[in-house]
Each structure stands twice: as C-alpha cells, then as structure tokens.
C-alpha cells in the first residue's frame, strides 16, 4: 500500500477504470480518509460513500471484489462517438451526479456520516431510485485495516529499498509494493524472456521482443513479478524510485513472520513527483 496525501479531508473517485477505483478505495481505507465514489452510464448513476472510520466495515471493494487495471478513457470514448456522428456528453446525468457527490463530500468534511457505507442508485430517465446499505463481502480483496501512525523515514527515493526496510525497525521487514513490479515476462510471440523492469501499472502494451529469434521455441521462461520485497531479495538493492515510489509516498512494511506492520513516509518533496511541461500556445485561427 502506498499513497501520497494523508493531509486531505476526502477522496473523490470518478475515474474510468475499476482498478483505479479499487486502489483509491484501499488507500482511503488504510489512511482513514472518507471516500466518495461515483459512476454513470446514461441513464444510470451510482454514488457510494464510506467514512472509513471503522477499518472492518464494508468498503467499495466489498461491492466490486473483482477489478481490472485496463481502462478506456472518456477522451477515447468521446472520439469514437463523434466518429459515429453522435454527441458524447451527457450533461443531465453528469450534473445530477456531480451535485450529489459534492453534497456527500461536504457532509463528510463536516463529520456527518449519514450515508456511510451506502449506495445510491438512480435512473434519471424512469425516475427509479433506491438506496442500499453495502454489506461486508467475506472474500473482499480490499484492505480492511487502517494505520494509526505514519513514521517519517528520511529515506529519499534515490536510496535503495533496503534503507526503507531498515527504517521500519521490524525484525523481518517486507515492503508491500503499491503495484507489482515486473522484472521479466515471456514474449507474447516467441516466449523468450523480455526484460521489463517496471511497475505493472506502467505497462501499456503486450510485452514482446524487439525482434524475435528466427527459430521459435516453446516458451520455457517464467514470469518474474514481485509484489513485496524483503531484505534478501535482489530488488532490495534497487532504488525506491525505480520501483515506482515517489517523494513523500507512504508505504506499508510488514513483518514476514509476525503480524506487525508500519506505515512509513519517504523523504523528499511530493511536488517533485510532478513533471513540468512546457506551456503550449493556442494555434492561431
């Protein structure tokens, strides 16, 4: 578990992919930050709210245990609709959804959790409306625990993971990676090992060789993917940054033998994680 911003009053999720929703839901639960989520596809709208004041209460992932990382952006969808001669905007339902989310967030910021753990479902065309209490899913893969204290490690992103592990003071520390780190996978075409060395969330295409061998042999190599890093793992010597940990990131380190875990913040300025872009000038008409 890793996240950047504990000094926020609420997290609002209106993203396109469930994998992103799941990540935000987990981060909000872990850091005890109210989480408001919405999704719509005309004429249906759904809003859910979670105060995250109780770690073992139902979460968004109890409602949607299975999520995928893949997504199809609003921009791409809009372009496709326009190609077909349609209008991609649905302002009526977006306005209703935006207003509802804003109201829920305001109430959460004021400590009013009247809609905690509830789902509001609306069909704005036929006026079908109902509210449901979200129950705990026994097989929920989400995080049902919260941190009490976040420790500043003083470890910079350029330093190796082993320094973070040492900062935890746990006897058998293992860092839980926010996104699995892919070292290598078989080529989709020939099965040879393809070096990736990226967090899984940054992989945008099916891995394959730059040029496959002339003679293709059956795939023998396996996937090398890490979801956690211990002292004796090779990745312990890699820099925090190379494993996707930006300045100010808060990570969870667990004891591989016991049940202890600690939340640790990386050093550095979180704003340094953003890339400065050159200002673009509008084209003259």
């Amino acid at each position: 578990m890793a996240t950047q911003a504990p000094d926020v009053g609420a997290i609002v999720s209106c993203v396109d992919a469930d994998g992103s929703r799941g990540f935000l839901a987990d981060a909000a639960r872990w850091l005890r930050i109210p989480f408001v989520e919405a999704g719509f596809h005309y004429p249906r709208l759904r809003v859910t709210a979670f105060s995250n004041s109780a770690a073992n209460a139902a979460c968004w992932r109890c409602l949607k245990p299975q999520t995928t990382v893949a997504g199809f952006s609003c921009e791409q969808y809009a372009a496709k609709i326009q190609e077909q001669g349609g209008v991609p905007a649905t302002p009526s339902i977006a306005a209703v959804g935006g207003a509802l989310v804003a109201e829920v967030v305001i109430q959460e910021l004021h400590g009013n959790h009247a809609n905690d753990g509830r789902m509001l479902s609306i069909d704005i065309r036929n006026w079908r409306v109902f509210v449901a209490d979200i129950v705990r899913e026994p097989l929920c893969p989400g995080i049902h625990r919260s941190v009490d204290v976040i420790r500043d490690s003083g470890v910079m992103p350029s330093e190796p993971i082993v320094r973070l592990l040492e900062a935890s003071d746990l006897p058998h520390p293992e860092l839980l990676l926010p996104s699995p780190f892919v070292v290598s996978v078989p080529c989709a075409k020939c099965g040879s090992a393809v070096s990736i060395r990226k967090p899984a969330r940054l992989i945008r295409s099916v891995p394959s060789c730059d040029s496959c061998p002339t003679e293709v042999t059956p795939a023998i190599c396996s996937f090398e993917i890490y979801s956690r890093v211990g002292r004796n793992d090779t990745l312990a010597l890699a820099s925090c940054r190379s494993l996707g940990l930006a300045p100010g990131t808060i990570v969870e380190i667990v004891d591989a033998v016991g049940e202890q875990s600690v939340a640790i913040r990386l050093g550095g300025d979180p704003l340094a994680a953003f890339t400065r872009l050159e200002k673009r000038h509008a084209k003259a008409r």
């Binding site: 209106c14 993203v15 396109d16 992919a17 469930d18 929703r21 999704g39 719509f40 596809h41 249906r44 709208l45 759904r46 109890c62 409602l63 949607k64 245990p65 299975q66 893949a70 997504g71 199809f72 952006s73 609003c74 791409q76 969808y77 809009a78 496709k80 789902m119 479902s121 069909d123 036929n126 109902f130 509210v131 449901a132 209490d133 979200i134 129950v135 705990r136 899913e137 026994p138 097989l139």
Partner: protein, 98 residues
C-alpha cells in the same frame, strides 16, 4: 437455478428485477445458490448482458455479498432482488466499437 414452479424441492422463489426496465425474472433457487451464481445464470438466460453487477435485497435494502448464498443472506421465498449495473463510465463501452 430455474424458473420452474415446484414447491416440494426445498427451493425458494425469488424475483430478480432488471436494472434498466420493468422486466422481472422469477426464479427458483437452492439454499446454496450464491449471488455470483445467480448473476451467472441471469446472463446465461439472457436476462442481463455480461457485465459488473450488484444485487440488493429489496426487502431489507442491503446489498448481497456475491460469495454468500442468497438464502444465507436472508433472502426468503417470494422476495425481490434488485440487479444493479456497476457502471464505471467510458471504459465499459469499448465493446460497442468492436
């Protein structure tokens, strides 16, 4: 799960409400039928399209955990279960362009 009427087989009658229109699907379910199994069967009989759904017990207004049996979650004979699409926005619409 079936929609054949038979009162002596230990099954109960549940009415599933369609997420978008007024259609209903009455079905007989066994005591072990889970929420996920019910959804899979609703897709199989073409009551709903393949996708992401939540189930809500209309009588109690509580969602139904998909890994639990509906009967174990308190669904009784004659109850209605609301099927809700878990829309996530643009990303679910790729199929319409394929």
């Amino acid at each position: 799960m079936s929609n054949e009427s038979n009162g002596s087989d230990g099954k109960i009658k549940v009415v599933f409400l369609h997420p978008s229109d007024s259609e209903q699907y009455p079905a007989k379910i066994g005591s072990a039928t889970t929420g996920q199994q019910a959804l899979d069967n609703l897709v199989k009989v073409d009551f709903i399209k393949r996708g992401d759904y939540a189930l809500t017990h209309a009588r109690t207004k509580k969602t139904l955990a998909l890994s639990n049996s509906l009967v174990g979650s308190g669904v009784a004979d004659g109850d209605e279960v609301i099927v809700t699409v878990l829309d996530r926005g643009a990303s679910q619409n790729l199929a319409q362009f394929e």
